[in-house]
Symmetry: C2
């Protein structure tokens, strides 16, 4: 497991490329896993990456291509001819092949597919490209091991030897009827244990989990995680077996989903990483910051209304507005994060009203504890018990409202079919800032009687 | 795939339990997957859950127990005798068995292990419990298919039939030398395709990925995701094969990791869900809220210093403090989230200085765009160009510093071996609130010359 990209390795590689020492470069990568080579290509200059890709044989480079970061792969593909891409793609599983071809322009897609020598793969790729993104169809591979229920174990073994060559990993063998409809499954283990003259129908399990080709990928991830499945067959609307999804693709779906939720909570509108350009990062960061700015202007306008009431008589109220806004924001984010996560795990059942009542008590409890502390501080520091009381009581109210907004908004969005994750982060903090400050001044005004 | 818990189903179940109609209850659950039954038990009353667990046979209930939510399982285990728990555990894979026994008190652990009839399982569980949490040892199962390199294919097939019965899924067959040291692997497919008189050493692949028994579980998740592995063998310090980890356990690790990071960013100190008690939720939420309160008091103290300078001459400055704090917080969270995610994916290479310089330019660009908008607003609304300029220029400075803090803190923590994820959320927003407001007033003071 011990391959590490060191600066020494990269220098050595650069020197070899400069001196066109192809033999040594091939040797250098001989024992290295393709996922590691992909990481090397992410590090070296673009010309060096192209040089290495063109040097290594397509069995290895096809795997490397699937592992590269999107932007680097895009650049490399631009520098390969349709013929060269077709050669790479012919070494891939159909799902990876379709993913890579799908990244090309429509025109190049056609060229590459026409350049494929394997007509079956070409047809498979065309089919896979026809499904909507983020569905089972877009995620599945066409390679699978399929047997007819009327076959015998011995016949089955013979044919599996043929089919299995194309399938990287045999998870389950899918059993179909004469119309290719999915009717059961069996494992290689079942087959090895069975007698050779038994019929497949006798030894197969009729209970088989499957998903429809139009099922949403995050839903499939939930199903596979819940039932601990390592592969799941995909059927069309007529129950005909059309493909299978393996757990390694689901691991990617889960990781992407987690990253997207995390980024949404952090106020990023696009999937960015720290190596992206300043322009890309600005595009991802500026929209929510702008919302924050508008929220801040909202808070300013509200505070302006109270300027004449409090500027002379209770100026100290203004000095606590950042505290009020921060508490409203933090409470709101906590509440919404718990709901968003619960919704993602299908854990949130029961009525919205019940949730809101519980959150009210919870926020009230937290608010009172925090407000008592603040009361003591303001009283001691400012020496005015009434002002201290006004600030503390309004803080409790602010925290309760913030908790309710944080609970209600994601539940409401979810009911409307909108991804509740957008309700975390800047959205909640900004709206809670405004409501928080308004409530704070209103209640303080009542208590102070100004 | 279509089991749904409806209120009708739950009512029906309750009625059957009340009338002690055991036959019908068993029939009701007959075709239901254990993961679904676990969800039913999460919904029904505790007495009903216990009733169902005691009714169903242990082959099914053992699987259900592993799927239950922690708190409900804990309560159910409290109501089972050591003997009853031992019976459940004997049906489980060793990793699940060790997880469940590990949740019991030390005294009950010994009782349950002593009550096990299977001595080998008892020894395996003791071994698994001895490893540190969140390591390969704690995650792995003892069940695996192991063959010696000197065996023939035919002999291997015979013995595998025996071993494979205990192994739910055969991913790879691990090849060991006579000292049980891992030397290679082969797949069932390789075995089926090989001739029966070939030696295992001839057909096995010597290149095999593995992890040490003390390896950190998140590191293993990274390795398995990167190399698309579905199972990985675990060896001790002498390279002796001691267990294997399968991808379904890694899916759980990935989900937990994502949830923990998300919760940390949202300011929750513990893993909670919305069904937890108000007390549990308060324990998870109050610590960061308290930090926010202290930060707010800090902001108050800073603003107090500037009260005399600005109260009469530029009161409007105070009205923009929530905006300044919000922008500082949002920028900080964005920067830190990108770094934290990059660190989690091993994407952050190169020097800290380079990152900071890039963030400075990025924050400056974002800051200037936002500040221009604010400048226009304040100028038009307040009619004072100098004040508008002071507020806008300080906003740019605040945003730059916030971005730098958000970038630096997680990188610094990571260098010190502390989980950088704690630097997101309330930690960054609170420190940025204080610094932001300080910088804001200092720069405004310089520009306004007060």
């Amino acid at each position: 497991m011990a391959f590490e990209i060191t600066s020494l390795f990269l220098e050595n590689l650069s020197a070899l490329i400069n001196s066109k020492n192809d033999l040594e470069i091939t040797k250098l990568f001989n024992e290295v896993h393709y996922a590691d080579i992909a990481e090397v290509l992410d590090e070296v200059s673009f010309d060096e990456a192209i040089y290495i890709i063109k040097l290594l044989d397509s069995e290895k480079t096809s795997e490397i291509l699937t592992e590269l970061e999107d932007d680097i792969r895009e650049k490399i593909l631009e520098n390969l001819s349709a013929k060269e891409i077709a050669e790479e793609v012919e070494e891939m599983d159909s799902d990876d092949a379709a993913d890579i071809i799908g990244e090309l322009s429509d025109e190049r897609q056609t060229k590459v597919i026409n350049a494929l020598e394997d007509d079956e793969l070409a047809a498979d790729i065309k089919e896979l490209l026809s499904y909507d993104e983020e569905t089972a169809g877009a995620l599945m591979a066409k390679e699978l091991v399929k047997v007819y229920e009327t076959w015998t174990v011995a016949g089955c073994m013979r044919r599996i030897r043929g089919q299995a060559k194309d399938v990287t990993r045999v998870h389950s063998i899918y059993v179909v009827d004469k119309e290719d409809k999915l009717v059961g499954r069996l494992s290689l283990k079942d087959l090895i244990i069975a007698k050779s003259d038994q019929k497949i129908a006798e030894i197969s399990k009729s209970k088989v989990d499957y998903v429809n080709v139009n099922e949403d990928d995050e839903e499939i991830a939930k199903i596979m995680a819940k039932y601990d499945l390592e592969a799941i067959p995909v059927v069309d609307d007529n129950n005909v077996l059309v493909g299978r999804i393996t757990i390694d693709d689901i691991v990617d779906v889960l990781k992407e989903e987690a990253e997207r939720d995390y980024q949404m909570a952090a106020g990023l509108t696009q999937d960015v990483d720290s190596d992206d350009s300043i322009l890309q990062l600005t595009r991802a960061r500026l929209p929510w910051l702008f919302l924050g700015l508008v929220g801040g202007i909202g808070a300013f306008l509200i505070m302006s209304i109270f300027e004449h009431s409090f500027k002379e008589s209770a100026f100290v109220l203004f000095l606590f507005t950042p505290l009020v806004a921060a508490m409203a924001g933090n409470v709101g984010v906590q509440s919404s994060a718990i709901i968003v996560q619960g919704l993602a795990n299908d854990d949130v059942k029961g009525s919205i009203n019940k949730r809101l009542i519980k959150e009210m008590f919870l926020a009230a409890l937290n608010g009172i504890i925090l407000a008592l502390f603040l009361l003591l501080f303001v009283w001691v520091y400012e020496g005015q018990i009434l002002t201290a009381l006004a600030i503390s009581v309004s803080l409790v109210a602010v925290i309760i409202v913030a908790g309710l907004i944080g609970t209600f908004v994601p539940l409401f969005l979810n009911k409307r079919g909108i991804d509740p994750a957008i309700a975390t982060g800047p959205f909640i903090t900004t709206s809670n800032d405004i409501f928080g400050i308004l409530i704070y001044f209103l209640i303080a005004k009542m208590i102070l009687g100004i």
